[in-house]
Amino acid sequence: MESIALEGTPKTPTVNMDGATGIVEIKGRSIPENSIEFYRPLVEWLEEYSKEPQQLTTVNIQLEYFNTSSSKCILDVFKKLEAIKKARNEVIINWYYEEDDEDMLEAGEDYESIIRIPFKMIEVVD
């Protein structure tokens, strides 16, 4: 399947989704007024990928900011990953947060408690 490679903008994150390696990355900031439009192709890609996933899918989420409009879409991404895991594939989620950014750590914990995949919380020290 085609991979997705999007460059970040001041309002949207850098995205890389590669079906051949099973690596999914979302990095930067996600603050568009309307996030549904931005995330729809990503969720659709995961839907397609979930039909024939790699044995191991590695997900790296490293967000500097995200707005509440994005938060629901990000949950949709996680729900797709949860389904892949449920179908007996391995899924690793790495949640990166900046040193001392308690709000971002807590946001990761919120997601972790909603979907049933343990997160690896990784503090990034400058």
Binding site: P10, K11, I31, E33, N34, I36, E64, Y65, N67, T68, S69, S71, K72, L75, E98, D100, D101, E102, D103, E106, D110, S113, I114
Partner: protein, 183 residues
């Protein structure tokens, strides 16, 4: 008429003002303002976490404003810009204060008041639970996050939100919203 928009605006311009705006609230404007404020914050605040917190809350409050401005009918006030709103970002003592203002239909006041009073009354843990509940259960529209914005702001500020309604006429009031971010 008892409510005067210019008076309200100058009342909102308290403290050391970093940025004040009165006029049309458009997506483009918000993008520009976020860019300007971000570089301004870089100059006035050293602590990256404080900067991030303010920026996050600013994004949420301006996007909330953008989504919820009610337009006064042209007949009522022909000199007012469409999607009229106000926002002021200032520093007061050791806190940063974000104020927004917009017209709202009177029929929406009751619901908004109830929601705000509820959010203000919740503890930190209760806000977290409410946030997760709304995130996981509520349908989101293209417009917004089912009230998630207000919950998010209250969470990040430890309930540091306040509001006021000024009656404008039979159909409209002016909604003033104040967010205090302790440094």
């Amino acid at each position: 008429m008892s409510f005067n928009i210019d008076e309200r605006y100058s009342k909102m311009n308290q403290g050391e003002v970093l940025l004040a705006y009165k006029g049309s609230i458009t997506a483009e404007l918000i993008t520009n303002v976020l860019g300007v404020v971000e570089s301004k914050l870089d100059h006035v605040i050293d602590k990256s976490i404080t900067k991030k917190k303010i920026y996050n809350i600013l994004v949420e409050s301006l996007q909330n404003l953008y989504h919820h401005v009610d337009d006064l009918p042209y007949m009522v006030n022909e000199s007012m810009d469409i999607h009229f709103g106000i926002f002021v970002i200032s520093k007061m003592d050791e806190s940063y204060v974000i104020r927004t203002g917009n017209f709202i239909k009177n029929e929406k006041i009751k619901k908004l008041t109830e929601r705000l009073d509820k959010i203000k009354s919740l503890t930190r843990d209760e806000l977290k639970e409410l946030y997760k509940f709304v995130l996981n259960n509520q349908k989101f529209s293209d417009k917004g996050g089912g009230g998630l914005g207000l919950i998010d702001i209250a969470r990040r500020t430890g309930g540091g939100v306040d509001y006021e309604f000024d009656n404008y006429d039979n159909d409209y009031s002016f909604f003033s919203f104040k967010i205090t971010i302790d440094n």
